[in-house]
């Protein structure tokens, strides 16, 4: 359903960090959205407040999970929801990550902050078909150890499945932090991949995406094999409101996941 939101019920709420919450949503009535692909997003409607784009962070048979960071009116209202509350959903919208592009290749997943949320379903899908791919790297950047999303589950992915090379880094360590400190791009040094035979998936703040794509290119990963997810203001998600433009790209239709080859020169222009 793309015209009006379909009611979904909050069946689970999980606090991921001080400002971030995962909502498990199930259709409240008969009507349900078409299945989502990893990387796609929904327009999530908080009654009486507004509607914002949010990626799917887990895809169940009937249930969807959205991980929302509270930054303003609508996201704060979503983060305050309790089990039993209802939201409206439109979707699925936009392009997916396209995991099939990585068949037989090494995979490098690089995330910054909330950028891990849209990539979780991709990591889960890759783990579920582990043999279809080469080496699987997950490089996670977080502001602080406390902001790290899905910490316990990341540990479970590493332990329970085939080899997942996972590294985590933080900008500001706490006293108990024993891991890496610094930009997520520094983790590329110890990631295991053959650049000419690698597909990368990147999501996070735009400066982080630029820096990561630059480093991957520098190492020899082909630009069209660097898949990034970009954020722009989105009011409609259906190509009609004009808000999500980046040059000729309409991010809600041509993105949010798009090849670096299509956006590199556009992102090089300030304020485009």
């Amino acid at each position: 359903m793309n015209d009006v939101p379909v009611p979904y019920q909050v069946t689970g709420v999980r606090r991921e960090s001080a400002d971030t919450v995962s909502l498990t949503l199930a259709p409240a009535g008969e009507e349900a959205l078409e299945p989502f692909a990893p990387g796609q997003f929904a327009m999530v409607y908080a009654f009486g407040v507004g509607e914002i784009p949010v990626s799917v962070s887990r895809i169940g048979r009937r249930e969807l999970v959205h991980t929302v960071r509270s930054v303003g009116a609508v996201s704060a209202a979503l983060c305050a929801l309790r089990p039993g509350s209802q939201v409206g959903l439109r979707g699925p919208f936009g392009t997916g990550w396209g995991l099939e592009r990585a068949a037989g290749q090494d995979i490098v997943v690089v995330t910054g902050g909330i950028g891990l949320a849209p990539l979780r379903p991709l990591v889960l899908a890759a783990l579920a078909a582990r043999r279809a791919y080469g080496r699987l790297n997950l490089l996670v950047g977080s502001r602080t150890p406390e902001d790290l999303l899905y910490a316990d589950r990341i540990r479970a992915w590493v332990d329970s499945h085939g080899p997942l090379h996972c590294q985590v880094t933080v900008d500001r360590p706490s006293p108990a932090w024993w891991g890496h400190v610094g930009l997520v791009t520094t983790l590329l040094n110890s990631a295991l991949f053959t650049p000419e035979n690698t597909t990368a998936y990147v999501c996070g703040p735009e400066p982080m995406i630029r820096a990561t794509a630059r480093d991957l290119l520098h190492r020899g990963v082909r630009p069209e094999r660097i898949r990034v997810s970009l954020e722009r203001n989105m009011r409609c998600a259906t190509g009609h409101c004009g808000h999500c433009q980046l040059g000729g790209v309409l991010m809600c239709l041509d993105g949010p996941v798009i090849g670096w080859d299509r956006v590199e020169s556009l992102l090089a222009v300030r304020e485009l």
């Binding site: 009006v4 009011r235 409609c236 190509g239 004009g242 808000h243 000729g248 309409l250």
Partner: protein, 387 residues
Amino acid sequence: MTNSTTTAVLDRDGLSALVQALAAQGRTVVGPTVRDGAVVLAEIASADDLPFGWGTEVEAGRYRLVPRDDGAVFAHTAGPQSWKTYLHPQRERLWSAERAADGHLSVTEDGSEQPSYAFLGVRPCDLRAIAIQDRVLAGGRYPDRGYRERRTGAFLIAAECTEPGATCFCVSMGGGPAADSGFDLALTEVLDRAGHRFLVRTGSEAGEEVLSGLPRHPADAHTRNAARTAVDAARDRMGRAMPPVDLRALMGESLEADRWDDVAARCLTCGNCTMVCPTCFCTTTEEVTDLTGDHAERWQHWDSCFDVDFSHLHGGPVRASARSRYRQWLTHKLSTWYEQFGSSGCVGCGRCVTWCPVGIDITEEAAALHDELTDRLRREKQKETER
């Protein structure tokens, strides 16, 4: 589209009968009228509401009504509105939502019946603008249902141009004063010693049907010739022109031009140009709740890329400077529109030039960008040969 076109001549009574016939079909007839010192589009009850005897004088940032003693009705140029006012209204309710006491949400799409319009006096540039908005709003993966209903229900009567204004440049945008397609009926006003009349051509079966019920005269050779001559002459009397270059490529090459700073120093970022432009389609949404808090409505209204909130992200706007917002408008119109919707976003109607409070003229800006680019390329070439 029909294969055969019927041509006839209507006199003023025929024009009146046309308005009555469309009203009798239950249509809301909209046409140009004189109001508040401008030709504005409004619902008309009879042909008497049309601007007989009014012309316009326009320049960049200037618009003036002038009386004409020949009694012409279609001698004015584009006013401050366009047909998008009706097809893509300024405000529209998208849906209503109710929250029950137990938290249950129900959402109802706005299902109000769309009016059935007849537009009288659609200029050829505006026919092209409607076709462009059709591609944006009714084409593509997610057609806008309300727009499509209003659009398919509308009866379009074109009025070919015989009096282009000083800010018109449709010819240089690949258009012209003649109506080629996309109408149900097309009128060409003829005023000479043989009288005040309209050559009428049909463009659809609906047009054939309406015409067949009107008092009309056969299309005589003299009227045909007079109509053709007037439209041909209009083609050569455009007030302005875009530079005759590949505008799409020019914009692509000019993203870092200095000219953007120059225009940004003059532009008030008021967004008038986007409001008057017949192809500009951008909208935003707003949430309206009633006092009980259990009823909410989602409204859509026109938005402008000149508004700093247009590109709002929680870290700040993507396009904070006036330079970047003017660049967004011009490059979208002339260049990136092709990638998104397969054509230019500008039909050369001149509205944005006329209604800009400080007289910014997109043909002049494009020409300046072209000069800057030519200069830059020349200097680069020089450097290369010196090396």
